[in-house]
């Protein structure tokens, strides 16, 4: 398993999302991500962190949001992980069929079927849609612990 270049965790407050964006952009730049793509990294990471903060505030405000930034092998990868397990329903749905980490949520913007129907705010869904539109490669995995958004972009083949 590759060690992340930079890892951070922050209390789930909207004010810290900007910090996460700034750090992610700085590490992306240092990892050799093209300048033209940095805006996309900044926005996608911000969206993923905003979504995680919202989920934590609703389900587990005392738990930090985690972000891992890794620049290796010509790719710059960001993983934003929340531990806001959606109570009952969604976890059960993720269980038998797609519990394996890495299971993709096709369409991204759709909340888990048995989650809280229609409770998702428009921006939250829009956020995932924006991420899918921006990142070069996106995998959204819902595990028992919460949601993990893995996104990556090409970078100069450093290291």
């Amino acid at each position: 398993m590759t060690m992340a270049t930079v890892e951070m965790s922050f209390t789930p407050l909207p004010a810290h999302v900007r910090t996460a964006r700034l750090v992610a952009t700085a590490v992306a730049r240092r990892s050799g991500v093209d300048e033209a793509l940095l805006d996309e990294v900044r926005l996608a990471v911000g969206e993923a962190c905003s979504r995680a903060v919202e989920a934590h505030q609703e389900h587990c405000p005392a738990e930090p949001v985690r972000v891992a930034l890794t620049g290796t092998d010509g790719r710059f990868e960001v993983v934003v992980t929340d531990t806001a397990a959606q109570d009952g329903g969604a976890t059960a749905v993720a269980g038998p069929g797609e519990a394996k980490p890495g299971a993709e949520a096709p369409g991204g913007g759709q909340p888990a079927a048995a989650g809280k129907p229609a409770q998702q705010t428009v921006p939250a869904e829009l956020g995932l849609a924006v991420i899918e539109g921006l990142a070069d490669d996106v995998k959204i995995a819902r595990t028992k612990a919460g949601l993990s958004i893995r996104m990556s972009w090409p970078s100069a083949a450093a290291s």
Binding site: R18, P123, V130
Partner: protein, 116 residues
């Protein structure tokens, strides 16, 4: 940088000048301003985003919310934006079809007046 908000009336249309970053932290302030303007009877709005450095989906949600509010009064909400990095977000989300997006405040006002 933080978010700076200002507004003034021009040719009977309320122009909202936004400067800085609109994200999950700052967007509530823009939402409050738009609600306040609608509450005092301004239903023709132009949001000038020329000095916006960052916009995320929370900001988009606030703009869509503003549009919904003014439309309830047969009003309008037009945007001024020429920055490619911001326009791209509207394109990705298909919102270019929802908002009138103009190159300048004058152009936005002229377009609005021409529709009347």
């Amino acid at each position: 940088m933080d978010l700076k908000l200002d507004h003034h009336t021009k040719d009977g249309i309320e122009v909202v000048d936004v400067e800085g970053e609109i994200d999950v932290y700052t967007a509530p302030r823009l939402r409050e301003l738009l609600i306040e303007l609608v509450n005092v009877g301004h239903y023709q709005l132009v949001v000038n985003m020329e000095k916006v450095e960052f916009l995320d989906s929370t900001g988009l949600g606030v703009l869509v919310g503003g549009l919904k509010r003014v439309r309830a009064h047969d009003g309008s909400l037009d945007l001024v934006c020429t920055q490619e990095r911001i326009l791209k977000i509207f394109r990705i989300t298909g919102l270019t079809k929802v908002f009138g997006i103009h190159d300048s405040v004058d152009e936005a006002i002229a377009a609005r007046k021409a529709e009347k």
